[in-house]
């Protein structure tokens, strides 16, 4: 082994096993640790289990829900306040079955409903890795939930409706790549947590309020990944999907809102094979005929007025980046013509983009992204409605018109 390589390995080991790590820790195999670290990235544990400017994995991040605020747990190996005394069996039980070591029920804001698909071997690798991160002494903050949601036994109802325990079983009729993609998307990736109408806490009545993937408290809409009408991934190439997931920008569109967080903290770290596998699986999900036509619900005279008003705003404020015919300048400025993510039935996303602007995340594949200015001050509700209606219906796009009221309601949306 060359000297530099040995040096690198020693450096890696040192970085992975800080002084003070639990004494009972066996000299874990560096390959297993590296794998565990990679899988923890794929599961995006860090995004939820690290507070802003807080210590890594020490928890304390507030998660706002319609029922109150949950605080994430300390998952560093500190024996008193973290999970330093947990065995790998107990850790697997948490990931796989959503139960604490004493059998208590875990709130599904911890995405065990997806992690249940994770194999025992992968769970053990994450466990081994988490034992090597610097232990942090920091007590968990008690959750602040309203009655009756502060009663953990309610979780039983949610579990009966939505939780299916079970490790991933490969489909022998599909390729290894497809199966790997399926495993990552449905398991560690916990993509379903945002991309399905089931919300993490409600379950019964409450969940219906958010049907269609409107993320509670955040007012962003996560399209269904199984419908070509909503995502249109069926028309994307594998390379475009890979770029979207890993760089955050692609020839077809850029990530924004909560999806930017997922790319920033998790997906950009996927290796080539896994990113491709995910893309293959996602593309397969979305196939099933071209996107349906939506019928426009405005009488034509009124809509043509709205459209010409919208076009004048577009030409003045948007065309310099998104192009006169919505073709964009990818990857810097996403195209709007044919961009499925702005044509969904829910117009929340394009309205919010116009009000708030945005930057795709800074990733290793796109470290200095171009941004879009917010128009909340410049444009009135009528103007926002007109320009969003225009981009949803021009150039062959098939979205429905939006009203000034919809635009007005989203001015109050929480920004971050």
């Amino acid at each position: 082994m060359s000297r530099t390589l040995t040096g690198l390995l020693v450096g890696l080991m040192l970085a992975l096993s800080p002084i003070g790590a639990s004494a009972q820790q066996k000299a874990a195999d560096p390959a297993v640790l590296a794998k565990g670290e990679y899988l923890a990235r794929a599961g995006d544990c860090i995004a939820c289990h690290t507070a802003r400017e807080g210590k890594t994995f020490a928890g304390g991040l507030p998660m706002k829900t319609p029922f109150g605020t949950l605080y994430t747990s300390n998952i560093t190996p500190d024996p008193q306040t973290g999970i330093g005394t947990w065995t790998s069996d107990q850790f697997y039980q948490m990931m796989h079955n959503g139960r604490f070591p004493d059998g208590g029920l875990v709130y599904p804001a911890m995405p065990f409903a997806s992690y249940t698909k994770v194999t025992r071997e992968d769970s053990d690798a994450i466990y081994a890795y988490l034992r090597t991160v610097p232990p942090v002494r920091q007590l968990n903050k008690p959750h602040d939930l309203t009655f009756p949601f502060n009663n953990r036994s309610l979780i039983l109802g949610w579990r009966t409706l939505f939780f299916r325990e079970g490790e991933f079983k490969p489909d022998p009729t599909k390729s290894a790549e497809w199966n790997r993609g399926n495993y990552l998307v449905e398991g560690l990736g916990h993509c379903g947590m945002c991309h399905t109408p089931i919300n993490a806490l409600g379950g019964s009545k409450q969940s219906q309020a958010f049907e269609g993937g409107l993320i509670p408290m955040q007012n962003w809409y996560a399209p269904s990944l199984t419908s070509n009408k909503e995502t249109g991934l069926g028309d994307w190439t594998i390379e475009e999907i890979v770029d979207y997931l890993r760089k955050g920008v692609s020839a077809k569109g850029a990530v924004y809102g909560p999806m930017a967080e997922v790319v920033y903290n998790s997906l950009q770290f996927l290796n080539d094979d896994d990113a491709r596998a995910m893309a293959v699986y996602l593309k397969g999900l979305a196939q099933g005929g071209p996107p349906e036509k939506a019928s426009t619900s405005l009488p034509s005279a009124e809509s043509s007025l709205l459209l010409s008003f919208g076009k004048s705003i577009y030409d003045r404020d948007c065309a310099s980046c998104h192009g006169a015919t919505g073709q964009g300048m990818p990857p810097d400025y996403p195209p709007l013509a044919g961009n499925q993510s702005i044509q969904m039935v829910s117009a929340v996303n394009p309205i919010r983009m116009v009000l708030n602007g945005g930057y795709p995340p800074g990733t290793s594949g796109n470290p200095m992204p171009h941004g879009m200015p917010p128009f909340a001050q410049k444009l009135s509700d009528d103007e926002v409605a007109a320009v969003v209606t225009y981009i949803r219906t021009a150039w062959g796009n098939r979205g429905e018109p939006v009203s000034a009221r919809q635009a007005n309601e989203l001015r109050a949306a929480t920004l971050n």
Binding site: R52, E53, A260, E261, V263, Y264, C321, D332, N356, G357, G358, Y359, P360, P361, G362, P367, M368, P369, H370, G371, M372, P373, P374, F375, A376, Q377, K378, L415, N416
Partner: protein, 203 residues
């Protein structure tokens, strides 16, 4: 770089020169280290202004540094100072605090850190000229009410909480009545014996 930061232009102007809205600050020509500290503070939520917290949330340190260096390098013209509307007494009170402080109430002179010409000090202390009164009092208020914090020890938090409402008004009135220098002249790093320790200006 100009194209990458067009998203900032509606509020800060295409060259970081500021806009007619008094609360939207000029960025051009401020010390790069200072701007960088502010961008990090917005990204991490220590300094709060939701539209900016949101825009910067997923950007790396490296990129924020480049953005800071870019705006620090620009030199658009300053708008002429607005003729003061406040009384001579208020302006004189402001001038005294800025130049001499108020030893009786433990207030250090602003010039002790911001420099004798109020041009700022490298790397992390900004100049105080060319800012508008509403912005200056808004920021001092931000420190007093906790919506703006700098790296600990946060000396400006201490300074701001020593000032009374009237002091804030006087200081803002005086500073905004002074013409800004065409070219910023920062005092060199470590050249001023600062009366308090500041986390943003390590020595």
């Amino acid at each position: 770089m100009a194209a990458r930061v067009l998203a900032c232009a509606p509020c800060h102007g295409a060259e970081g020169e500021g806009t007619s809205d008094a609360y939207f600050p000029r960025l051009a020509g401020k010390p790069a280290g200072y701007l960088y500290n502010q961008l990090i503070a917005f990204r991490d939520g220590r300094r709060k202004y939701p539209p900016m917290n949101y825009l910067l949330e997923f950007q790396t340190d490296d990129y924020l540094k480049k953005i800071a260096e870019y705006f620090a390098s620009l030199r658009p013209a300053f708008p002429p100072p607005v003729p003061p509307v406040d009384s001579k007494e208020i302006l004189a009170r402001g001038e005294t605090i800025v130049k001499n402080g108020d030893p009786q109430h433990g207030i250090p002179p602003c010039s002790a850190c911001h420099g004798p010409t109020l041009g700022g000090m490298e790397p992390g202390i900004p100049g105080l000229l060319g800012l508008r009164a509403a912005y200056i009092s808004g920021q001092l208020g931000g420190w007093r009410y906790g919506t703006r914090t700098a790296f600990a020890p946060d000396c400006m938090q201490i300074v701001a909480s020593l000032l009374t409402e009237d002091d804030v008004k006087a200081v803002a009135a005086y500073l905004s009545s002074r013409p800004a220098p065409a070219d910023p002249s920062f005092a060199p790093r470590g050249s001023l014996p600062m009366p308090l320790e500041c986390g943003s200006e390590p020595h």
